[in-house]
Symmetry: C2
Subunit: 118 residues, 2 copies
């Protein structure tokens, strides 16, 4: 059970920009960047939209080549395709994330911040 992803050279600049031009998706990417390395499942983003709608937005991100979704049991673990994006469009993701981090208009994921203290 693997989901379709474009390979690196198939990632299109206008499609990536278009996909990132949506506050919900930008918020997802910003959160993924803040948890880089940690694979997160879809329900982590339920603050942002309904389950159905998330499925739609996460599919857009995946089909554009921005994220990778790996099937693990009943979960889909979502990660940023940072290395691929950096290779294809050097500096783009960094500058988008840096700008997104400073954007107070973007919706937040996990406002309660329930982290397990060390």
């Amino acid at each position: 059970m693997t989901l379709p992803h474009p390979n690196t050279d198939q990632i299109s600049l206008p499609i990536v920009l278009g996909v990132l031009g949506d506050p919900t998706r930008l918020a997802i990417v910003r959160y993924l960047a803040s948890k880089e390395g940690v694979p997160l499942n879809c329900s982590r983003f339920l603050d942002l939209a309904s389950k159905t709608n998330l499925s739609y937005h996460l599919a857009k991100l995946r089909e554009a080549g921005v994220t990778r979704a790996e099937v693990v049991g009943t979960n889909r673990m979502i990660t940023l395709r940072r290395a691929d994006l950096d290779a294809r469009f050097p500096g783009l993701l960094d500058s988008v994330i840096a700008a997104a981090v400073d954007d107070p208009a973007l919706p937040a994921v996990g406002g309660h911040d329930l982290e397990v203290p060390a």
Copy 2:
């Protein structure tokens, strides 16, 4: 006769990304970047779309804060708001332009290249 432009702090990341997520507009921005400093009028872009449609796309770019349009006689001279964009979203425009320059799928402006030789 001046046209409305957002000021720098009003420029929104998702709006800029959304506006750049269109091949016609990305081609306009790429061309503007290649002629930086030289103000170009709208008809310079007639290769890309009809006059009416260009008016629409150029308004989108201007309203997003990506370009500036100055009225000079019957012309609107279009320039990239590079300094403003660099201030607001450091590195973003550079990486977008660098990626756009390498994108063979984007439509080209002025394929015939009628430059006045020195």
